[in-house]
Point group: C2
Chain length 141, copies 2
């Protein structure tokens, strides 16, 4: 509803986007945000678009995208037609890597749980299955 190119300072943008000032400058260096206009004094001068972009970055980060991947998404999303397919593909890849990570954690969880179940929680370290499993003299090679 509000699209006039108001002039926001970096502090105002930070507050609106919920991101620290340092992080905004960091994203600019990293190419995630375009270089903003400057006032005569050298102050960065932003509009609402920058705020939206920062929110986009924050949400993508929450979904587990790396900054590299986000840079990629941002580029794709501006292809206007044609980018959508690629964006969906990135999302699918992200989903697959999340699934892989979950599976890995489940496997680890499984091993750990078995050890805990087998451990009496007292007695000699020699008989503690957790310590024994970790030490495991002769591993399969």
């Amino acid at each position: 509803m509000n699209t006039q190119p108001a002039s926001l300072t970096i502090g105002a943008v930070a507050k609106r986007a919920g991101v620290p000032i340092d992080t905004i400058r960091f994203y600019e260096r990293e190419g995630l945000l375009p270089e903003p206009l400057r006032r005569a004094s050298g102050y960065r001068s932003y509009n609402e678009t920058a705020v939206a972009r920062l929110r986009f970055i924050r949400r993508a980060k929450d979904l587990g995208f790396s900054l590299d991947e986000i840079r990629d998404l941002l580029a794709l999303s501006s292809y206007r037609r044609g980018g959508v397919k690629a964006v969906r593909k990135r999302a699918e890849q992200r989903l697959a890597s999340i699934d892989a990570r979950i599976a890995e954690l489940m496997r680890i969880r499984q091993g750990l749980e078995q050890l805990i179940e087998a451990c009496p929680g007292k007695g000699d370290p020699e008989h503690c299955p957790i310590l024994r499993a970790l030490s495991d003299e002769e591993p399969q090679v």
Copy 2:
């Protein structure tokens, strides 16, 4: 079966434990491995205990323990009686944090999957639910 204190070079230990040489020296600096004996030449001189300890570290790492936690486990495991309870507690804490991480990933997965399902994979970026969700003009505050 083989417990004589043979004198192993760092390279031999590295090979037997499946760990890079640099990493062994790094663990020594970090207090995960005791300082080994030295030959007259200054070469580190190890026995099988060091190999076992490195394997312990490797397995614990595979279970998702941080080096800090492993340092802790190693200290506990040598308490001989009494440490076992604490070891089990650490394992339970580890399990809980793995569960938390899995739950978080499931939540993220869920959000991502919904977006993908809603995305036709073509058309205008304006209508791509993935991009729309990431941009989401007015977030709940």
